[in-house]
């Protein structure tokens, strides 16, 4: 995903505490509203941010119980899209090895969870996941 210099951005360090994903989503929705994104798109951004943060909180196993959130407005001269980056310093994972969840299988399975990435990909226009043993970065963008 090619990314130029942001027109505006905010970066937050969020401790992995209950409901901290809501605080992250507030930062993202404020920026989305500031560039006059439609209410439905703002809502989709909010939900995707919640999911990305929950994934980091639950699965990263990061020793530093902290997530870095960056929300950036990108465009040449005017806002064209909003990109949110959620970064953790956990053990990473193989994004390509994550099985696509299906409700038919989940209904029969003990474990019903594992929907975060599917929801993020379904709600956002561009999604990129970079993961290594030193952490995971999820970059997701919504066109204005």
């Amino acid at each position: 995903m090619v990314r130029g210099a942001p027109l505006q951005e905010v970066t937050l360090k969020l401790p992995m505490l209950p409901d901290m994903e809501i605080e992250a989503s507030k930062a993202a929705t404020s920026m989305a509203e500031a560039i006059e994104m439609s209410p439905d798109k703002v809502d989709e951004v909010r939900m995707a941010v919640v999911e990305a943060c929950i994934n980091a909180f639950e699965h990263s196993g990061a020793v530093h119980r902290e997530v870095t959130l960056n929300v950036a407005v990108l465009g040449k001269s005017a806002a064209e899209k909003l990109c949110i980056t959620v970064q953790d310093s956990g053990g990473g994972f193989e994004p390509d090895s994550v099985e696509e969840p299906s409700l038919e299988r989940k209904l029969k399975a003990e474990r019903k969870r594992g929907w975060g990435l599917k929801i993020i990909r379904g709600l956002m226009d561009e999604v990129e996941i970079r993961s290594s043993k030193s952490g995971t970065t999820v970059v997701m963008c919504k066109l204005r």
């Binding site: 209950p18 409901d19 994903e21 809501i22 989503s25 439905d40 809502d43 989709e44 909010r46 939900m47 919640v50 999911e51 929950i54 969840p101 299906s102 409700l103 038919e104 989940k106 209904l107 019903k112 969870r113 929907w115 975060g116 599917k118 929801i119 379904g122 709600l123």
Partner: protein
């Protein structure tokens, strides 16, 4: 401080309507499940979750709703959802929930849907 989900219950003749207000996360999902399972134990087979007061859900909360779908299917009952925000409805479609639970625009449409298929 965690966000608290408030639930209100309205038992109709054929359907029990559970109204939610607030964030459906893991605690919220568990609270809905607790009420739903109590109703099912009392013989209620048709449940309607009215999400008009819920603007945000997360996948952990939805996973608990999937457990409710699994249990209600086993007793030949039905779970419906109504008054969803467009994003929650889109999310339910992404997950395939619409194949296993009714999704209705509002409560009258939901009650009509339950009545039509009973």
């Amino acid at each position: 401080m965690t966000e608290t989900l408030k639930l209100t219950l309205d038992r109709r003749e054929e359907v029990a309507v559970i109204y939610t207000e607030g964030y459906i996360n893991n605690q919220g999902g568990e609270e809905i499940a607790r009420v739903a399972y109590e109703l099912m134990e009392q013989g209620q087979k048709n449940l309607l979750l009215h999400l008009g007061g819920t603007k945000i859900v997360n996948s952990i909360g939805i996973s608990i709703l999937i457990e409710i779908i699994e249990k209600i299917i086993k007793i030949d009952g039905r779970l419906g959802f109504c008054s969803l925000t467009p994003t929650i409805e889109k999310t339910f479609h992404i997950m395939g929930i619409a194949q296993y639970a009714g999704i209705y625009s509002d409560e009258p449409a939901a009650l009509e849907g339950f009545a039509a298929s009973s």
